[in-house]
Structure formats: C-alpha cells, structure tokens
Assembly symmetry: C2
Homo-oligomer: 361 residues x 2
DNA sequence: GTGAAAGCGCTAACAG
DNA sequence: CTGTTAGCGCTTTCAC
C-alpha cells in the first residue's frame, strides 16, 4: 500500500506515475516498466493496453527515478572545445536524446579556455567524477586527455575522430571513402581541375579527407597539381585566403572541394566577390552537411555526417561498456556509420564542357 | 543496515555515496546532505569535517537521487521550431546548465513539422506531462499554444518574445531600446541613409526592432525613406533580395541594419558580389551576436542578446513558480535582461564623409 | 544542531 | 509472460 499510504510524510509530485498507468491498464507497475523500456517478453495485447493508458494519462517516465533504480545512473561527460555552433547543436541534440532514453546523467563541459596542461588536469579530475566520456574533435586527438582518461580506466568514445585509435572506442564515418566519393562525383560531372582546401592539421579527419581526394584523382588518372591544394583550418576565415589563391591561379580550378561546409561557404563568398557565378563558373562542395550548408546561397552539395545519430551511438556504447564493467571485460569498439552524399545546387558541369565561354554574360 | 546489507539483491553503483562520506566524517548522512546543500544550521567544525571527507572521497552527489528525493524533479519542456543552429545551441547550453544545477528534467521537443492544429494538440498533451514550458520564438507568439498551456495551468516562460504578454512570464531584452541604440550609433558615425531589413512579421521582436530604428531616426531629425525599409524573414536567404533592392537604389544607403545576424551576413555577401567593400563602401550591423556574427568576414557589429543566460533564467523562474504552486499564488514575471552593443569590423564612417570618392580603388 | 525513519518513482532479481 | 519484493541515494519530516 505504498502509493496510497495516507499517512505519508512526503508530498507526492504532481506528475503521472507508473503506478497510475499500471492501475489504469490493470497490470503491475513492472509490466508497464517492461513496455516502456521495450522488453520483448510482453504479450501484444498487454502491451497495447499499457500503451493506451500511457497515452491517455500523458505519462512520461521520471528519469530521476529510473536512473536511480536502474543504478545505471551513469554520469557521462560530453566535453567540447570550440566547435561550430551547428556541430554542437547536433551533438547536444543527439546526446540529449540518448541520455533521456537511457536515463543517463549528461555533464556538458566547455574546455575552451584550457591549455594542454589544463586539459590534462581537467581530464584527471573528470576521471574521478564520471563513468564515461564523449570526446568530439579536436579533443579526441589529444594524447594527454586520452592518456589520463584511459589510465584512470574511464571508458571513452571519440566522435568523428577520422580514424580508429586502439585505446578508445570511436563512432565515425569513413572520411576517406566519403571524400573519395565526392571527388569522383566532381570528376564524373566533368571537372578535372579540382581545388582542395584541407582541414585543420590537428585532426586526422583532415588527413583522411585529403587522402580520399588524392585517391579519386589517381583512380581517374588525373595528375595531382600541388597548386590546387591549399591549407585551411576548418573555419570560414581560414578558407578566405586559400580560396583567393586558388582563384588567382592562371589555370584556376573549375571546382573547389572544401574539407567542411564553413570553408565551402567562404569559397562561395570569395567567388561572388570575384564576380563568379556558383555553380556556373565554379562548382563548390563542402563536407558535414552542417547548418551552414543550407544557410548559404546556393545551397551546398556536401556529405552528410550524422552527428546527432553518432552522439546517440556514442552514449549507447558508453552505457553498454559501463554496464559490462562488472565482468571487467574491456572492450573497445570502432563503429563506422554511413555517410551520404547530398546533392544540392552548388555543383554543375564546368562551363568549358558545354560551349567554352560563349555562355558567359 | 540498509547500505551495508550483505544479502542485497541489487548491485550497488560504483560511485561514492553520501553514506560513505557520512561514516568517514562520523556524522549522519543527513548532516552531510545539509552541508552539501548549504543549509545554515550546521556547526562550523562539523561542516569542515564533512567537507574534508567529501574532498577526500571525491564525492559528487547523485543528481538522480537528490532530484527524486526532493521531488523537485520538475520536468520542464523546451519546445522549438526551426531555430537557427546558433540559437538552439545557446538555448540548449543555457537550459542544460540550469537544469543540471537545479536537478530538473529537461524535455526537448521539436515541433517543426506541426501545423497550427498540431501545435494546439501537442500543447494540450504537453500540458499534462510537464510542470513548465520554455517557449522561444516564434512559438512564444502562438496564441493557440499559449492558450492551451495557460488554460491547463502550466507555467510558461517566453524567451526573447519582444514584448510582455500578461498571460505568461517572459525573459527578454529590450528590443526597442537595443535597436534604437544601434541606429543612433550608426547616425553618430555619420550615416544618414540607413537601410533596414525587417524580421519575420510573426514575431513581435521584429516590430520592436523596427520601431527602435524609426525612433532613433526621428530623434535625429532624419526623415524616414520607405524605400530604405525592406521585408526579411530572419533567414539568410530572405535577406538576399531585400539587400539587392537596397543597393540598387539610385540613392543607395551607406549603412544597412539587418534585424538579425543571418540577414546581416547575407548583406555582406550581396555587397561583396556587387564589388562593394565592407565597411568602407557600406556599413552593416546585425542583431543577436549569434555565431554567424563572427563567422563572416568582416566580423559583424551587432547587439548581444544573452540567449544562454536567458534560458538559464527562464528555467529558474519556472522552477520557482512550480515550487510556489503549493501556495497557489500565480505569478507572472517579466524579466528584461541587459543587451550589449558589440562593436566589430563591419561599420565605418560613410566614405562620402571623408573625401567623397577619392578613396576608391 | 543533529539524527532516525520513511519514501520519492522506478526497476533488477526472482518466483510463479 | 507477469507479479512480488526490495531497494537505488538522497532528502523530507519530526523528534531530540
């Protein structure tokens, strides 16, 4: 008679509880719990009855309670430094979603102000207070941070790290393949002089993307022209001079492949400033399918990296790892998720293909 | 013998608990709790002993447990439709921060796909499942949504709503004043022909910003030129034609004040496409200080709207309201937070001020 | 100023 | 496939 206890000293919350759902559906709270959590061993008719009661009452499980009861109250940290707004938005949304589903306690932290030593210290402190850590780039490349965390035995999942590091789990796309596909697409459209803007050298993903570009060129029998490759740092600003250099070339490229959308947006801006029409005079492709891709005009052809889903997966892996810890089988997984080429309006066949310069005007 | 119960069926979590701290400090768990939560009635010596134990053990309170026990497990919803990535990022960060601090359970929901009827239905459902709702624009202007929520007695806080609505609490900046200050700044810099790009008409903030612009002009004795005012919809794309029209004017403006940063970024883009230098040939200011403001080049002079802090405040207000509900004193607050003019590189004195066109080149 | 008891809402384990 | 029991870690209330 726990729930109806009249002499209870504590005031009950206002929210609908699992017990109310249970009594409406005429089952035990446990059964409701099973339905909510998608356990399979429930008769369909029962499940339906429960679902209906849930619907009717507008029941939303109390996360605090479930997390407490399940003792999977895993406190997991999501640490970031200086990510683009779009990126962080996706990351948060994904992690939040998964955290809610799994009743995990998310600790979001910004290490922007920290130097290398500070990161090491922060990592050490973190290791004592959370059960797992999610590391997006560029932190997932920090030897110091990873070392501290691994040493302390805290499971870590790197997101979008570019490559697998055997010390920690990772959720990523195949940057090499994605980049190769983009380049191949450009080649198929008729482009032979394709400019490339590299990403920040502190991230493996940058390297992988560049390698994909090179591989596609090689496969197509196109010789690499070093002048067509410029260094960028993933920021809009960093790409400005890179694009300027590319377009100032005597034999300017007919297409530019930027290692992320921000830099592709910069390419559009520079092209416009020089009076070029995108995509007629210059095709541009980005990478990530961040919000920048659809903010600019024309909208960017790009590669979709499902950050939100990836964050979700990362949290799942962490939770599974934590729970398995009792059997202290240490497992490191490398999950490669599918990317997707998103075709929009920033790519066309090169003008020279159709009728050289006659179209100009 | 609860905690040391040897025949416990449940495995205990790995984390340090309040009981461990208590026994190390040789006090009851209750006292530890009081120390942690800053209750005053604890002897200093006791407090110190507890603190030390906390330190020593690296104890971090389990949020799930405290929120459950305190029954302040207020579930509060943050609903959004189609916000810019930067905006949502700030919103989430602020709300998350506050939620963690207050042990509230955040329910994040995306109503992008809903039509007006759907919103009404969703609002009705929501009212039954959460203790409070945070509404960013443009949802905070939806009569239907607010009606349903208010009718159900759910406290609602509107963020950045542009004006106070007596039915619901709000946290906002003074859009009118901020806009007036921006315009005055432009005038002080020597601009007299100032183009204005309005925001989406479905938001009061748009109106207030326009009014601020008008007021500053009037105060300065500058006659309003209707041709200088163009409609936008807060998106980058929507501002493109608006800016084109402005710059095609025979007497083109020397400055453009866009109602948000995205549209200001579009203005820069169009200006560049037309071969204008920003700020030499055209000054541009935005509004919000979103990430777009520092992504573009030159960086935007804009008004900082502290979204993250505002979200934090909103959650606080909600929590206070919910807790006060027992005394069923319904309170609606209107909190106006300070904005800030951020001076960056997109504004200069008009070229005609210094030496007409001699500077060109 | 401090402690003991009770229970927040939920779920793991074990029966049936 | 479903119910019963016993807590998860913390804080409320009330006693001392």
């Amino acid at each position: 008679m726990k729930k109806t206890g009249r002499k209870s000293v504590r005031r009950k919350g206002f929210a609908v509880t699992i017990d109310e759902v249970a009594s409406l559906a005429k089952v035990s709270p446990m059964t409701v719990s099973r339905v909510i959590n998608g356990h399979s061993k429930v008769r369909d008719s029962t499940r339906e009855r429960v679902m209906q009661a849930v619907q009717e009452l507008g029941y939303i499980p109390n996360l605090a309670a479930s997390s407490l009861a399940a003792a999977q109250d895993a406190r997991i940290a999501l640490i970031y430094t200086n990510p683009s707004a779009a990126y962080l938005r996706e990351l948060l949304l994904g992690a939040l979603h998964s955290a809610a589903r799994a009743a995990a306690q998310l600790v979001i932290d910004d290490w922007d102000e920290l130097d290398a030593g500070g990161e090491r210290k922060a990592a050490r402190a973190l290791a004592r207070s959370v059960a797992g850590v999610i590391l997006p780039p560029p932190l997932c490349e920090s030897k110091a941070v990873i070392e501290e965390l691994v040493e302390a035995g805290v499971p870590v999942v790197a997101i979008a790290s570019g490559r697998f590091n055997h010390d920690i789990s990772s959720v990523r796309i195949d940057d090499f393949l994605a980049s190769k596909e983009v380049t191949e697409y450009l080649i198929k459209m008729g482009h032979a002089r394709i400019g490339f803007i590299k990403g920040h050298p502190n991230q493996m993903a940058s390297t992988r993307r560049f390698e994909g570009y090179q591989a596609a060129l090689k496969d197509a029998g196109i010789a690499m022209d070093a002048a067509l490759v410029q260094q960028g740092y993933f920021t809009y600003r960093s790409a400005l001079p890179a694009v300027e250099k590319l377009l100032a070339l005597r034999k300017a490229p007919t297409a530019i492949f930027a290692s992320n959308d921000d830099m592709a947006a910069a390419a559009i801006s520079v092209a416009h400033r020089r009076g070029l029409d995108v995509p007629r005079d210059l095709s541009i492709v980005g990478f990530d399918d961040s919000s920048a891709a659809t903010t600019v005009w024309p909208e960017l052809t790009t590669v979709r990296q499902p950050i939100s889903t990836m964050a979700d997966s990362a949290l799942d892996i962490l939770l599974r790892t934590i729970r398995r810890k009792e059997n202290d089988t240490k497992v490191v997984v490398d999950q490669v998720v599918a990317h997707q080429l998103i075709l929009r309006d920033s790519v066309a066949a090169p003008a020279t293909m159709s009728a050289s310069k006659t179209q100009g005007g």
